[in-house]
Every structure is written in structure tokens, then in C-alpha cells.
């Protein structure tokens, strides 16, 4: 019986092995030879990682690879290795293996150094020759490969070059305005873009034309003006959400700074008042509260250049639109400012609203010293010059400062007291609840100084004042309870002491009685 079962098992196993062997087609001879090729050092040219990747490919991709070797587009093991080393997922590998442009331009035997695409281009080579950039490009992922921009027929194995007619025949680098129209062939076509990314706007060119960048390139034909490629790159254009993208939130300041932080590039450009356009914006931004939030803490909600200036329609933030721009995030503060009497005064003086007190690129973390009439006050300079006859303004500023400082100090002190009481084993949860209320009020009060109205401010701080009173009563109650605990302990110790004394006296008496009986 056992023998029959054994034979049956062996038969089933053999059948399964046979089926598995039949499912996996044999590797064609040419491809197999390349995979098995060894170098001068007698080691396999195809690395184990590349071999593992190859073995994981599906039949369709293996067939395409085999076809490339049969048609002798891939003839060398190192060429095959460089393609396998990309480790592309099947969809991208399919695009690549059907594109003779890439297959030919990655063959080190055929190409000159200036036209060879590789994973590690030699130092000093043009950056667009990086093969990794090509296959990571957002266009490549959607099937748009070399011929999409350069023209030609990627299926043509004669490898002829027929560049598209939109490319200027000569002086392509001198006047780059043609690039705008070239990219816009697709990016300004809503019907076409809808097929690939329905959410992507198609008004980039229109916006760009209206921007100072666009005018500089199109009208002034200034070679320093940026075109699409200046910000997005040539090959390796990635989605803005990709951290490697040059227009990713965390890299925008570098991309803009490539020109705006370069004094040579920016030489000759002037502000409306005639002073030279500064080139310290990136340095200031990096040190600012926004820059640190984005670059150090990774807070993607923090703004970078394009949040205030726009991207394709990038331009200076106008005086009248500063509070609109800041208000995109700081909506509460902007709304309070807009409803305040300062709004009109600022407009009369042509002051840049928020930026007048907080700065622009180098905005630092605010502190309570900015209020009042102290050394760090933001109010004094303007008020001494323009509002000398309004002493109540100084009084209001002092009142704001004193009220917030008082509540802040109360919050800190009661926090310490609560900690001490907690360590003594008292219930501090109600105190913490009130401390949270107070902290919330302080936050609200700091925002409501932008109303510059004492009445409005008082309404906001009223719950805070009540919270301070409650906390004071609660801490007093807790301290009283602790004292009563100590008193209770003292009474217990006295009681226990009396009992101990009584026991001791009883023992003494017993011992004396025992001694007496022994005598």
C-alpha cells in the first residue's frame, strides 16, 4: 500500500515538474549567450542582481528582450546588463524595449561619449545623458519617450534621425522662446492633457507670457530668462510631489535660487524704487520661520517661493495683495487686519501690510516683545513719526503687551505649581484643563492684537482671566488639601506614638512582674 502511494506521489511530482518546465519557455540562444557571457576576468558580466531581475521578468518582456538581441540592437552583455540594472517595472521596461532610440543610445560600442546614455555618466558629461533620469521622467512613465520630443520613429531599426519640425534648425540655444511653444503643443491642449492627467492645468503658457519671466524671454529676448526646462529640467521631469523633482516644495527655493541667489545672473535687474534686486532671498528664507518649518521639520504646509509669488505666473507680491497672500494660510489674522483701522493707514502710506512688521523672506518667529513700546516693539517707529497725537495707541499697545505677558506668566507659574502638586499625589487634572483653556486664550489674544481694538481684545481675553482665577482657586484648594494630609499624618503619628508608649509601658510592667516572680 505504502509503495503504491509512493509511486503515485512520484508520478504527481514528475507531472508537476513537467508542467512547470513547459510553462517557462527556453531562453533563446543569443539572449542566453549574453546572459552567460564572461568578462576578461572570467567573471559573469551580468551580475547576480541583474540575473535575478531577469528571471523575474514576464514572458512578454523576455520576448521583447529576445527580439532586441535577435535584431542585433543589443549585441553585448554589458549593454544588456545596463538595461537590466535599471530594474524597471514591466510597464516601463516595455516602453524602453520598444524604443530603438534608447536601445541604440545606451550601447557603448556604437555611441560617442557625448551621445551615450548611461546610469553613471562620466564627470563633466551633460546631465541629460543620465539614463536614470530618462526612465524616471513623468513623460516616459506615460509612454512618451525620445521620439515624443525629438521626432523619429522608435520602431525603425535603421535608426534614422528625423527631428521634429518645431525645432529651430539653427541657434536653438540662443533664442529659447521656441521651447515654450514646443512644450505647449501638448500642455496647452486640454483634450490631449485630459488623456494623461485630467487635473493638470493647461494655462501654463498663458500665465507665463504675462509674467516678468515670460516678458523677459519673449519680448526682451534676454538669455538669462528662464524657459520651461530651466525649472523642470530636460530629462528627468518628475511630478511635483516627487521629492526628487526640481519643483517639489522642498526644492523650489533651490530651483528659484539658481538664478535669484546668483548675483551674476541677477546683475542689472532692479526693484521698482530703482535699487538692485537683492539676491539674499534664499538665505533669508532658509533661516525664516517658514523655511525652517518646511526644510527642517518637513512641514509641507509651510510656504515656499511659489506659494506667495505664483509659479508659471511668478511675479512680485503687490503691496495691496500682501495680506491676501499671507491670508491664504493666516486667514484669521489677515481678516482681523483687514477690518482694522490700520488697513486704511497702511494703504495711505503704501506700506506692505503684513510685511511691514513681519518682513517678507526672512520672517522670524513672533514674540510678545514685538508688542508694546519696548526695544523690540514693531509699533514705536511708525507711531512716533505718523501718530504722535494719538497717545491712546501707545497705551493700547502697552495694554496688549501687559495683558498677554501677565497671562503667559500665570500659565508658566501655575504649570510649575501643578507639576509640584502632581508629584505630591494631588489631583491636578482640573488644573490642567484650566491651563489648557488659558493657553488657548493666549493664542487667541496674540492673534486678536491684529484687530488693534481694545474692545475686541478684551472680549477674547475675558475667558483667560476667568481661567486664571479658577486655576488660582484650584491650586489653593490643592495646597489646602496637602496641608490637611500633613496634619492628618501628624495626628496619626501622635496616636501611633501614644499606642507605642502604652505597649512599651505594658511590656515594662510585664518584665518587672516576671523579674519579681523569678526573685
Amino acid at each position: 500500500m505504502k509503495r503504491v502511494a509512493l509511486i503515485l506521489c512520484q508520478a504527481v511530482c514528475a507531472l508537476q515538474i513537467g508542467v512547470a518546465a513547459a510553462e517557462k519557455p527556453a531562453i533563446p540562444a543569443k539572449l542566453a549567450a549574453l546572459l552567460a557571457a564572461t568578462g576578461e576576468d572570467r567573471k559573469p558580466v551580468i551580475t547576480p542582481e541583474q540575473r535575478t531581475y531577469f528571471e523575474g521578468l514576464n514572458d512578454h518582456i523576455t520576448a521583447l528582450l529576445s527580439n532586441a538581441t535577435e535584431t542585433e540592437i543589443i549585441t553585448r552583455a554589458d549593454h544588456l546588463g545596463s538595461i537590466l540594472a535599471l530594474g524597471l517595472r514591466p510597464q516601463k521596461m516595455e516602453v524602453l524595449l520598444q524604443d530603438n532610440c534608447i536601445l541604440c543610445h545606451t550601447d557603448p560600442e556604437v555611441q560617442k561619449p557625448e551621445t551615450l546614455f548611461s546610469l553613471s555618466p562620466p564627470a563633466g558629461a551633460r546631465p541629460h545623458l543620465n539614463l536614470r533620469h530618462v526612465v524616471d521622467d513623468v513623460h516616459f512613465a506615460r509612454g512618451l519617450s525620445c521620439s515624443g520630443c525629438h521626432g523619429g520613429d522608435p520602431a525603425n531599426d535603421k535608426l534614422e534621425h528625423t527631428h521634429v519640425k518645431e525645432w529651430p534648425g539653427t541657434d536653438r540655444d540662443k533664442n529659447r522662446a521656441w521651447i515654450l511653444a514646443f512644450c505647449a503643443r501638448c500642455h496647452s491642449d486640454p483634450a490631449l492633457m485630459n488623456r494623461f492627467n485630467p487635473g493638470l492645468p493647461t494655462d501654463q503658457l498663458a500665465k507665463y507670457k504675462e509674467s516678468p519671466h515670460g516678458k523677459l524671454l519673449i519680448e526682451a529676448k534676454d538669455p538669462r530668462a528662464p524657459d520651461c526646462l530651466s525649472c523642470h529640467g530636460v530629462h528627468g521631469i518628475r511630478n511635483a510631489k516627487n521629492p526628487l523633482s526640481t519643483v517639489n516644495a522642498k526644492r523650489v527655493h533651490e530651483t528659484c535660487g539658481a538664478c535669484h541667489a546668483n548675483p551674476v545672473t541677477m546683475a542689472g535687474f532692479k526693484l521698482p524704487d530703482g535699487s538692485p534686486l537683492p539676491t539674499n532671498q534664499v538665505a533669508e528664507y532658509r533661516a525664516s520661520v517658514h523655511g525652517r518649518a518646511l526644510l527642517e521639520r518637513g512641514d509641507l504646509g509651510a510656504p515656499t517661493c511659489n506659494k506667495c509669488h505664483g509659479n508659471h505666473a511668478a511675479m512680485p507680491v503687490g503691496l495691496a495683495s500682501v495680506s491676501q497672500s499671507c491670508g491664504l494660510c493666516h486667514a484669521g489674522n489677515a481678516s482681523l487686519f483687514d477690518g482694522s483701522k490700520h488697513k486704511k493707514a497702511f494703504e495711505e502710506h503704501k506700506w506692505a501690510q503684513c510685511a511691514k512688521c513681519h518682513g517678507n523672506h526672512g520672517i522670524v518667529k513672533t514674540h510678545d516683545g514685538m508688542l508694546g513700546t519696548g526695544a523690540d516693539s514693531m509699533c514705536v517707529d511708525c507711531h512716533q513719526q505718523y501718530a504722535k497725537n494719538n497717545p491712546e495707541c501707545n497705551a493700547t499697545a502697552e495694554y496688549f503687551h501687559a495683558t498677554i505677558a501677565r497671562m503667559d506668566e500665570a500659565w508658566s507659574q501655575f504649570g510649575v505649581v501643578a507639576e509640584q502638586l502632581a508629584m505630591r499625589g494631588l489631583d491636578v487634572d482640573p488644573i490642567h484643563d484650566k491651563l489648557n483653556e488659558l493657553a488657548d486664550t493666549i493664542k487667541q489674544a496674540r492673534a486678536h492684537i491684529h484687530s488693534f481694538s481694545r474692545n475686541n481684545f478684551d472680549q477674547v481675553v475675558a475667558p483667560g482671566n476667568k481661567a486664571v482665577e479658577s486655576i488660582s482657586a484650584l491650586t489653593d484648594g490643592a495646597k489646602t488639601e496637602y496641608r490637611s494630609r500633613q496634619l492628618g499624618l501628624g495626628a496619626s503619628i501622635v496616636l501611633i506614638g501614644v499606642m507605642m508608649m502604652a505597649v512599651y509601658l505594658k511590656l515594662r510592667r510585664l518584665e518587672r512582674q516576671e523579674e519579681g516572680s523569678l526573685r
Binding site: 499625589g425 489631583d427 487634572d429 496619626s492 501611633i496 499606642m499 505597649v503 512599651y504 505594658k506 510585664l510
Partner: protein, 400 residues
């Protein structure tokens, strides 16, 4: 009355007890302080019994019942620790019960029984609650009865060399009143501690602030440590590599701990000199060696002298060195007092334990390598000493 075991109620009821119930805070504080002081008292009692050889016949079973009660007391501590269902207790219990997996063959089954499932859940809480308030107390009451019965029947152990204990006193009223006097004094101290230090003395592994509620979905936070009386075992576990001698590190560690505790349990039968009512300095030294061994591991588990981050190799090296100096200092005091005051001349086990500490902490050898060297030297020294003693005995016996 107030505590309600359950995932949704344990923490909340503890919080209610300590913040709202009149004197609830005092009850919890007294409970926690008593638990720790009870373990301290038992450790002191056990070592004094060991040093005075009070375990010698006919009191072997008194020692064994005491040993089991000590184990049950640790069980009280471990089971009670989880009951507040706070963050620290939850993760410390997860790590602590995980060790059971290392028991060969039945490890997984035991873990399942202990936890009431594969993980620490409300089932574990119910089990630990039952253990803490029903099973362990019943066992403890039975054992303490037997222990006291033995003490009552056999009397107090006389000092070595004497056959009869000094004349005692009547249990009632003389002894009972003295006991009451001491009890009142201890109770007073306990009250003072409970009022002034309601969450413990602030020593790691000896604090019981309720903190945050346990969240089983959160990852365990780093640096979880058990209560102080389990720290030596926790540190010993850390000293073992993941794999050694064909076994997993925790398995081997468990084997070593079981071996050491096993030796400790059968000491009355091993100590033949004490059984003959003769001084047995080797076993006294074994007790002192055990104190040095436990002290070093506990100090190291407290990360004394550690740098930031505490788990970095540089920090671990500094911790080992600092703890070694502290332990060597304590060892020097122990040896000096024993030499001068008690005229002891047997220091092989204490010496080996101190050599182990010095090789590891000062010379940087791994804990196990240092232990192997010190252990080997101790074995050679013991064998040499025994052979020399036999030779002397044989010479004395042969001489006319």
C-alpha cells in the same frame, strides 16, 4: 470595591480611586510602598537566614517554604503591576511574559496560558487579577501557616556551634507585644512615606505614578524596564547574544537563571558542614558572591553613568565601567568587614564575582567571557582548596 478589571475600566477605576475616592490615594500609596518594602524585607530575611545557616537540619523545609513564598511574593509584584493598565505596565508585562516563550517545548503553550492568548489583552488582565487577589493569596496563606508552624514547632535556629537556642520568651503576651510595637513603628514609617512620597522614591523600577492609559495598538516605547527586583534578570538577558552554544540567547539565560535559583533552593542539602553544626565559610561566601553578582547587574540595568543615547556602544562601555567601580567599592567594603570583624578567610566566590565585574567593566571583556574566566578560576580554586584540605586531614589522621 473600586477597582474594576477590564480594558475599558481598569485604568479609569484606578484614576477614580486615586483622585476622587476619599483616602483612595493613601490606600494606593500604602499598598505600593508595602509591596516594595515587603520584598526588601524578604530579601533581607532570606540573606540573614543564609548567612546564619538557619536553614540547616532540621529546618530545611522551613527554608524551602520561605523560598517558595519569596517566589510567590515576586508573583504578587508581577501580577499586580499590570492591573492599573497603564502604558508602562502594559509594555513591561508584554516584554516580561515574552520570556516564557524561551522555555523549551512548552514555551508557546505556557505563554498562551499566562496571557490568555497570544498577546497581552483583557484576558491577561483578568488572569493577573485572579492571580493577584485569589490564587496567590490563598497559596501564600497556606504556606505562611506551614512556615510559622515549622518555626513554632522547631523554634528559632540556634547560632552555629550551639545545639539549643537561648531561652525564648512566651509568645503571648511578651513576644506578641514586642511584635505589635515593631508593627506600629513600621506602620508609622509607612504612613510617612505614603504621604510624602506618594509615587515612590523616584528610583527607576520603584515608582508607580499612573501616567497614561495603555494603548495596545501603539508600538512599545524604548527603554522599558521591569520593577527593581527583576532588573538583575533583565540585565542578564541583555548580556546574552541572540545565539550561543546552539541555543537561543534567552533560552540559555533562562537555563542559567534556573540553575542558579535551583542551587539556591537546595542549599540546606548542599551545605554539609552546616548540617554538622560546623561553620561553613564557603556558603557564607557564596551568599556574599550572590550579593555582588546581583548588585552589579541591577546597577547596570539602571544605566548608572550612561551617556546619551544610552544604548550607544560608548554609553554601554561607560555604564559598565561606572557600575564596576561602584560594585568593586562595595565588594572591598564587604571583604574588609568580613576579614576584620568576622575573621572570615574564605573569599573564593566573592573574589570570582568581583573578578567577573572587573574583567567586564574595567578591561572591556564581554560579560559572558568575563564570567566564564572568573567561574573557571573559582572552580580551580575550590578544587585546589578542597584537595589541600583533604591532604591536611589525611596527614593529621596518619600522624600518631
Amino acid at each position: 470595591m473600586y477597582y474594576q478589571p477590564g480594558e475599558a475600566t481598569a485604568y479609569e477605576s484606578m484614576r477614580y480611586l486615586t483622585t476622587k475616592v476619599p483616602f483612595g490615594w493613601l490606600m494606593r500609596s500604602v499598598h505600593c510602598w508595602s509591596a516594595h518594602l515587603m520584598i526588601i524585607s524578604l530579601v533581607a530575611h532570606m540573606f540573614s537566614t543564609m548567612m546564619l545557616k538557619a536553614y540547616r537540619p532540621p529546618r530545611e523545609l522551613t527554608w524551602v517554604t520561605g523560598y517558595i513564598m519569596f517566589a510567590l511574593t515576586l508573583g504578587f509584584g508581577f501580577s499586580g503591576y499590570l492591573l492599573p493598565w497603564n502604558k508602562l505596565a502594559f509594555f513591561a508585562t508584554s516584554v516580561g511574559t515574552d520570556l516564557v516563550k524561551s522555555v523549551p517545548v512548552a514555551g508557546d503553550w505556557l505563554l498562551h496560558v499566562l496571557r490568555g492568548g497570544p498577546d497581552v489583552t483583557a484576558n491577561t488582565l483578568y488572569r493577573f487579577f485572579a492571580l493577584h487577589v485569589v490564587i496567590l493569596p490563598l497559596l501564600f496563606v497556606g504556606l505562611i501557616g506551614i512556615h510559622l508552624l515549622f518555626v513554632q514547632r522547631q523554634g528559632m535556629a540556634p547560632p552555629i556551634g550551639q545545639k539549643v537556642a537561648p531561652r525564648g520568651m512566651k509568645f503571648f503576651p511578651s513576644f506578641a507585644l514586642r511584635d505589635l510595637l515593631l508593627w506600629l513603628f513600621c506602620f508609622m514609617i509607612l504612613l510617612v512615606l505614603a504621604v510624602f512620597l506618594p509615587y515612590g522614591p523616584g528610583i527607576p523600577g520603584m515608582e508607580w505614578e499612573l501616567g497614561e492609559k495603555a494603548n495596545p495598538l501603539e508600538p512599545a516605547f524604548p527603554g522599558i524596564k521591569p520593577e527593581w527586583y527583576f532588573l538583575w534578570e533583565y540585565q542578564l538577558l541583555k548580556e546574552f547574544p541572540p545565539h550561543l552554544l546552539g541555543l537561543e540567547g534567552p533560552q540559555l539565560c533562562l537555563l542559567v537563571v534556573t540553575l542558579l535559583l535551583g542551587i539556591w533552593a537546595i542549599i540546606p542539602w548542599l551545605d554539609r558542614q552546616a548540617a554538622r553544626n560546623e561553620p561553613s565559610p564557603s556558603f557564607s561566601d557564596f551568599g556574599w558572591g550572590a550579593i555582588v553578582f546581583l548588585t552589579f547587574l541591577t546597577l547596570k540595568a539602571w544605566d548608572i553613568g550612561g551617556l546619551q543615547p544610552v544604548d550607544s556602544p560608548a554609553s554601554i562601555k561607560v555604564i559598565s565601567r561606572t557600575c564596576a567601580w561602584w560594585t568593586l567599592g562595595l565588594g572591598a567594603v564587604i571583604v574588609a568587614v568580613r576579614w576584620v570583624v568576622y575573621k572570615h578567610r574564605w573569599f573564593i566566590f566573592t573574589g570570582a564575582a568581583l573578578l567577573h565585574v572587573a574583567l567586564h567593566g574595567l578591561l572591556g571583556l564581554s560579560y559572558l567571557t568575563a564570567g566564564a574566566i572568573a567561574g573557571l578560576l573559582a572552580v580551580i580554586a575550590v578544587v585546589t582548596r578542597v584537595l589541600a584540605a583533604r591532604r591536611v586531614k589525611a596527614t593529621v589522621g596518619a600522624s600518631p
